[in-house]
Each structure stands twice: as structure tokens, then as C-alpha cells.
Amino acid sequence: MSAIPQLQDDFVVIRRPSLYRRLVEANGAWRVNLNLAILIFIIVLGVIAPLLPLQNPVKPLPLERLNPPSAEHWFGTDTNGMDVFSRTIHAIRIDFTLAISSVVIGVVIGAPLGAISGYYGGRIDDVLTRITEVLQGFPQILFAMAVLAAAGNSLINLILIIAFYNIPVYSKMVRSVVAPLREVEFVQAAKVAGNRPIAVVFRHIIPNALVPVFSQLPLSCAYAVQLIAGLSFIGLGVSIPTPEWGAMIQNGASQIVFGKWWVSVFPGLGLFFSVWVLNNVSDILKSLVVRRA
């Protein structure tokens, strides 16, 4: 290699629009700010719930069953006399924890599987794709009911069931990004540079699948929250006294006809808002995917 002259470091720093600016440009400031603010508010509320001056969410007050909203109990009390306001906020903790952990497990297993499937192609790809299709063809609620009935109704099992359903979502998505890249010149160039196959996949291919994966995360969480609530509503999943929206809605469902709407409606609103805002955030993040030549 010939002698290398000393070059002074005259790097010009390039200022690129920040992530936030790009989101605002594509979606409008209002939409971005409002949805991110609501999502952050919900999550922060869940995190600091034990520190707030709330009533004990799991303490039944036998003398105060089904009290309507009042200065004492802002959202009223449920059939066990537990404070609905405190429970609705504490439910954020359990619903989001379950949802996020199941989605994370799904991504951690699904994304590498999809990358392997897409990069190596051939027989491995065929087998993995078939398995994915079989898994996705199975009715989810029935599967969850069967597993929870057989393996026991525990939170771990609930997380695993939902994770199990997220694996194919992410393996399919990553595969669809990776497969067309296999023949693309920059992947060949990475080989020419001397990257080992594992480095080609992790350094050069998977980073290109990250944006679609990240924009899918909130949507998967929304779906997981819905599923957890749905299972708890039919008596599987989370059960009373643990504060969880689905179980709380179930608790008050039979009271609505008697005009005791507050038991179900407040946790219902919590569920609705969370799912709605997660969907919106996912949509907003998807605007980052487009800018690819």
C-alpha cells in the first residue's frame, strides 16, 4: 500500500432532520404530538401508579359495593367494593407488561427466524414458511383456551401464548424484507469485503428490516392488549382481584342492565384509548419505512 499522506480532519458535519422532524413532516405536528403524548402519558401513569395517592386497588370494601362515582370514588366501586379509578390505572401495569413482554419474545424469536429463512432460502425457507402458515391458520382464541385449560391459567402461559402468535408475524415481515436483498449488489459487496455469513445477515441485512419491525411493535402491543383483555373477559388469563381491564369489564358486564355502567365503562375506555393510540403510533412510525430508493 502506497504512502498515505496526512490529511487534516476537515469533516463537514452533515445535519440531517431528526427522527422527530421526519415524523412531523410526514404526519403533521398535531397528530404526532397528540398521539405520542397520550402514549407516554399512559405508560408513565402505569409506571408511577404505586407512587400516586390512589386507593388500594385490590382492597374490597364490603360495605361500599357498586357505589356510583363520587368525590370518594371518582369512578365508583365494583361488585367487590374495590375502587374502579385506582384499578383502571393499575391495570395499565399488568396489561402493558404482559403485552410488551409477549411482543418482545415474539420479535426476538421471529425476526432471526425470518432472516434465516429469507437469506438461505431453499429447503429451510420452505419448512419455516409452511410451519408459519399452519400456526397462523389456527384460531387464536381457541388455541389459547386449549393451552390455558391444559397447561394451567398462569401469567407466564398467557405471555407465551401471545408471544407464540407474534413469532410468525415478525418472521414473515423480516423474511419479506430479507429475501429480495439476497441477490442485491450491496449484499454481494459485503461478501466481497470478507464479511462472514453471520456478519452479512446481522450487519448488512437485518438493519434494513428494523424500521418495518419497529413500526409494527405498537400494533402488536395493541393486539396483545386486546387479546389479554379478551381472554380475561371470558374467565381465562388474568382474574380478579388483579387489576386488568378485561377482567374488570367482565366484572361489571352483568351490572350494566341495572344502570351500574361505571364498573365496565371506565376500564373499557382505558382499553379503547390504549389500543387506539397504539394503532395511531404504529401508523405514524410506518411513514419512516417509505424513504427507500
Binding site: F11, I14, F186, Q188, A189, V192, G194, R291, A293
Partner: protein, 276 residues
Amino acid sequence: MMAAPTPLITVDAATKTYKLRSRSLRRVNMTALDRISLVINRGETVGLVGESGSGKSTLGRAILHLTDLDSGKIVYNGNEIQSLSESEFRPYRRKLQMVFQNPLTSFNPMMTMESALLDSMRLVSELDLNTKRRRVLQLLDQVELSSRFATLYPYEMSGGQLQRAAIARALAPDPDFIFLDEPTAALDMSIRGQIINLLLRLQRETSVSFIFVSHDLRLIRYIADRVLVMYQGQLVESGDKAQIFDHPQHAYTQKLLSATFVGQAERAQARSRTET
């Protein structure tokens, strides 16, 4: 000029057939390389011409161990390389480089030019990171890209700029051989001249060898020592530049030449008439 030329790369009866499925699910075979044999000497530029789909890029990928051959032999520096596994071949990687045909897809969209060029030097163990960084800037400068480009992503650059960066990337690990797949197609005339002269100068300094693919016969005539002509996967003609341009043997070569240099004699006549 040079004493007895030493062969750097020898390709012997290389054959590659792609098996495709047509829409009616019949198997269709596409012979991209049909018993290709050739020799590339140290410090030599070999021009490679041929119509679209004649197998030029496939030949490059085969030499660089990016495509398996069905049969045939490739020898680099006395070592048979086509039968090596990917990990056995890795030590040779830095010595055999390529400038890919499509500059727009040649760079990882997630990497700046600096990371891309550093990545191409990952097998260069004798330089430390700081020296490599300086070498990146030096290489960019050689292909007429200012240091600003080191921090840019591929989608922030034009096709011609990417093509020059791709040439810099191929030069980075100090190779013995570069397969240049239409490396000047996206460049304007002035930059093209500079890049060509850069390549020729580096060749004199380091005796790197080139296969230079181009549809521009004038350029081939300027840069190449020898010329190869491919047609439907076969090497239909090979020899000295003068021999091929003045006495083309194969019908395809004759057609190619007459298409390029048509009217040249008449134009020369007309010019001399107006001048007198």
C-alpha cells in the same frame, strides 16, 4: 514493455447454467457461461464486450466466488479457488474486488460511505482504524469526492457519485484484480476521463489487473490491452485489441464494430473537405 507476462487468473472451461421455471412450470435452462476459458495477466487490462445477457456479469461473479460454477476451473495465483468453501476462500477476498454494475444498489442503505469503505477493508489487518479512516478520505479524494461524502448515506448521493464511491471501495483493500462492470456508465465525460486515468495510473503503480466491461468500444479501445467478446454465454473472440478492432473474425464482433464506428470514414472525409 513487460517481460514474459505472468498469469494472475486462469479460467478454464467455466460453465454455469441457471435453471429457471417458465410460467408454464416447464424447466428452462439458461446457459450464462458456456465453457469459458481465459487468462488474465498481472498488470493487464482486459476489455470485455458483449450484448446484454451474454454472461459478462456472471463471469465476474464466478471469478469472485459469488456464484458456484457447474463445471470448470478458476486458478488465482497458482491456487485453485472455485472449489474452495466460503471460509477457505476468505483470505483471497481482499485481493479480488468488483465494481458492481448498478451503483444505486451497490451500497447498504443503512451505512455511510465511510462505514462502507471501512467495511471493505475489514480483512486489511496491517492498518489500524485511524490509518484506514485517512485512507477512506484519500480514496474519496482520488475519485473526485470531497471528504463531505464520507458522512453521506447512499440515498443522499447521485448515481455517478455512487459509482465513483464504488470504485474507491474496490481500490480500498489494495487488490490484485478488479472486475469493473460498466464502471463509467453513469459518469459524465470529464469525470469519466479522470476516473479512467486514475485506474490506469494505479495500474502502473501497483500492477493491479482489470477486466473492464463496457458497451463503449471507443473506451475499450483506449483502455484495454486485450479484448474479449462474449455472445450468448460463449467467448466468441479474444485477442489483441488491434487484431479485434482491425480484423474481427466473428460475425457478432463485426456487427458490433460496424454499429459503433459506422459513418466514421465518411465523417472524416467530410471534415477534410470543409477544412480545405
